[in-house]
């Protein structure tokens, strides 16, 4: 594909997503590579006196203690893993729910019908007024997958765990879009609702590399301690 063809493919309203992703990756890589090339050339000239045309302009003056940064990071990681908590699973789950910043990113692609309840629900959700968000999301006559998911989160935030579980389970069945989030939030919901076995079942679905994997491991560890 030449430059013009790539441009047309990228700009097409009905662009093939895979092709568009490939093109964008190529372009972003090239502009960033060029930027890095310039930065490195400047650093070489300034710090080591090395340029493209001459071997060495002046002697190396600085040697930087780069391992200081690495050592600090290793220490921090060490402290993190050495720390063992004695808190209960529900206390831990409450902490996770309370400290999790939740933002509704607005309607997804394909949602074209303006729905006042949805708009008010999103505004209330993003203002942290989850009680109002529940009221507005429940008013939506034909809720989509996204409405169901965010209604579940709003229920969770106001402590209506049974309702939260129903909506999040429904969301899990209807769409895979939120699957990583649903695994985590359903697990928290079940911990807070006293259903440890269900919580463990969802926590075990959170695989290495998934969102909240480390936190899930900590929660599993805490749950297993009391069981």
């Amino acid at each position: 594909m030449n430059k013009a063809e790539e441009l047309n493919t990228f700009m097409a309203p009905d662009a093939d997503m895979d092709k568009m992703e490939d093109i964008l990756k190529t372009w972003v890589t090239k502009v960033n590579d060029e930027k890095l090339r310039v930065e490195m050339a400047e650093a070489l000239a300034k710090e080591q006196g090395i340029s493209k045309s001459s071997r060495k302009l002046y002697k190396l003056r600085q040697i930087r203690p780069l391992l200081v940064a690495a050592a600090s990071i290793v220490l921090l990681i060490g402290f993190f893993y050495l720390y063992t908590s004695d808190v209960s699973p529900s206390h831990l789950a409450t902490q996770y729910v309370e400290t999790q910043t939740l933002q509704h990113p607005g309607s997804f692609k394909g949602v074209s019908i303006v729905n006042q309840s949805r708009t008010q629900g999103i505004i209330a959700f993003n203002n942290g007024d989850f009680k109002q968000a529940v009221i507005h999301f429940e008013e939506i006559s034909a809720p989509n997958d996204e409405d169901t998911y965010y209604l579940g989160l709003a229920h969770l935030k106001v402590g209506q765990y049974k309702d939260a579980a129903v909506k999040l389970e429904q969301s899990a069945k209807n769409t895979a879009r939120f699957h990583e989030e649903v695994n985590w939030f359903l697990a928290l919901t079940y911990v807070l609702d006293g259903r440890s076995a269900d919580a463990l079942s969802y926590l075990s679905k959170i695989k290495k590399g998934d969102w909240r994997f480390e936190d899930a491991q900590e929660l599993i560890h805490t749950l297993n301690k009391i069981n």
């Binding site: 430059k3 790539e6 972003v28 590579d33 940064a69 690495a70 997804f108 989030e181």
Partner: protein, 184 residues
């Protein structure tokens, strides 16, 4: 200690940290480590292959960029980076020489061939839109496309959810296309 000397003084842990930094498009640690090897490699390519300063410099720089790319793609792991870097710089030197040779042959056929550089194949409208795009969008798109960072990992890093990051990415691409449309 032996492994560290084969890996530019990096321990396996610090190597892992460097790769994580690169994925987040933070190149400072990478530059600190690899620019120290630059002159040594340039000297090697010049000595072994009778290359001139300019060609050896370009080959080493190309190898550095390729190394970054392979690190973030997970195609290069901790092992004997020093050896691989020298080898890749040599390969880049021969690749560039070959490319230039073909280029000269083309020049005989096409009177005014444009000068090649890394971003020549990128449309001007994209280059200019990229300059205008907001810093947060550039950061997100760079982490995902240049750093090969998964949206889930970006979400963890930014303390938000994957759905939020996916939505932000969609919006950034939409914005990018809008700016490009103004310049096409």
């Amino acid at each position: 200690m032996l492994m560290e000397s084969k890996n530019f003084g990096l321990t396996e842990a610090s190597f892992g940290q460097m790769v994580l930094n690169l994925k987040a498009n933070d190149t400072r640690f990478f530059r600190q480590v690899f620019l120290k090897q630059f002159e040594e490699t340039v000297v090697y390519v010049k000595r072994e292959y009778q290359a001139n300063q300019e060609d050896a410099y370009d080959a080493t720089m190309d190898a550095l960029l390729e190394f970054r790319n392979r690190f973030v793609e997970g195609k290069l792991t901790y092992g004997n980076l020093r050896y691989l870097f020298t080898k890749m710089s040599t390969q880049m030197y021969f690749r560039n020489i070959k490319k230039r040779h073909n280029h000269f042959e083309d020049l005989e056929k096409i009177p005014q061939l444009p000068k090649e550089n890394a971003t020549d194949s990128v449309p001007e409208s994209f280059k200019s839109a990229w300059q205008t795009l907001g810093i947060k969008c550039k950061e997100l798109l760079s982490q995902h496309y240049y750093g090969s960072m998964r949206l889930t990992d970006i979400a963890i890093e930014s303390s938000s959810s994957p759905a939020t990051v996916r939505k932000k990415k969609e919006r950034c691409i939409k914005k990018l296309k809008e700016i490009m449309l103004e310049t096409i």
